[in-house]
Symmetry: C2
């Protein structure tokens, strides 16, 4: 499972064996069942999670208790409540398993030690942060400019395998439409 992390990092920065040994010493492996929580709203955020296998949803619940899906995370994605994680404050979102999921966990103190020990990791995380920022900005533009049908089609085109494995009710909560409205679109 550590090889999966190494392959993932080496797509951006090459690593020596000794460097990867150092890196892997900062991660811990965990396994969760479907419906288990990795982050609970209102609690401290333990880790940034690298998904080895499975599927997560990052959820924001509004004042009425309605769930809005901020993002999904599948294999080789990083997910956490980033705002709360980096500021060591309480989560405003929850992170929950949509499928049985295996992750590698990186605590904030270990993230900092890791970047100090293997400085090129900052370059890796910088690339990931840019990708995340650009994807979020594109989602904002898409929400501002195109209708639900086109947003569904963009999602299908960008993440075909993700769309297939996500239950339709969750896809609706991501797109901000009712389950029925989504059914009409995806026929």
């Amino acid at each position: 499972m550590m090889n999966q992390l190494r392959d993932h990092i080496e797509r951006i920065v090459p690593l020596e064996d000794t460097e990867f040994e150092t890196i892997s010493s900062f991660f811990s492996y965990k396994k969760y069942k479907k419906h288990q929580f990795l982050i609970q709203e209102g609690e401290l955020v333990p880790c940034n999670f690298f998904v080895l296998k499975g599927l997560l949803k990052l959820v924001y619940s509004d004042d009425t208790g309605k769930e809005h899906i901020v993002s999904f995370a599948q294999e080789d994605w990083w997910e956490t409540d980033f705002a709360a994680f980096y500021t060591e404050s309480r989560a405003t979102m929850s992170l929950e398993c949509v499928e049985d999921t295996e992750v590698l966990c990186l605590r904030l103190t270990d993230y900092r030690k890791l970047c100090a020990a293997v400085p090129q990791l900052e370059h890796f995380f910088l690339e990931k942060a840019y990708q995340g920022f650009i994807a979020a900005q594109q989602r904002i533009i898409s929400t501002m400019t195109v209708g639900i049908k086109e947003r569904y089609e963009q999602l299908l085109k960008k993440y075909p395998t993700l769309v297939q494995r996500v239950p339709k009710s969750l896809l609706a909560a991501y797109l901000g439409v009712s389950r029925e409205a989504l059914s009409r679109l995806s026929r």
Copy 2:
């Protein structure tokens, strides 16, 4: 003007005088008039811009020619079409002056040389990228969960000075409402 950049960077990473000399050698100063373009849609993106003074709008025009404002940038903000800048592809957005604006420009090749010459700059840009990502994610959540009136109030609370200097028609194009609907809210 270089002092402004130094103060800005040193809020995140401390610098030696010689390091800052290296850094400043990679930036060039430019001055633009209100309504001038820094980035034109469909063209290559020359730089990432650090705003010394003034106000910019990053605009996405939809198929009907309607303008949507993706973000504003005022003093001490960085702005560009990040997706196009980092991939050296053609801009899908335009960047235009809302006021007379002075910027420091950083080309992509110089950005790379800069990070190689002063590695702690990667840490600085990483912090900025996280801030940008978190702000974009919060905007997505806000769009999904609250009405226009609350989004306007959140904007006022978060960026009081920005909201005051931005013409109401542009604020409406940022929030995705008509000028008239915004007038009713901001009375």
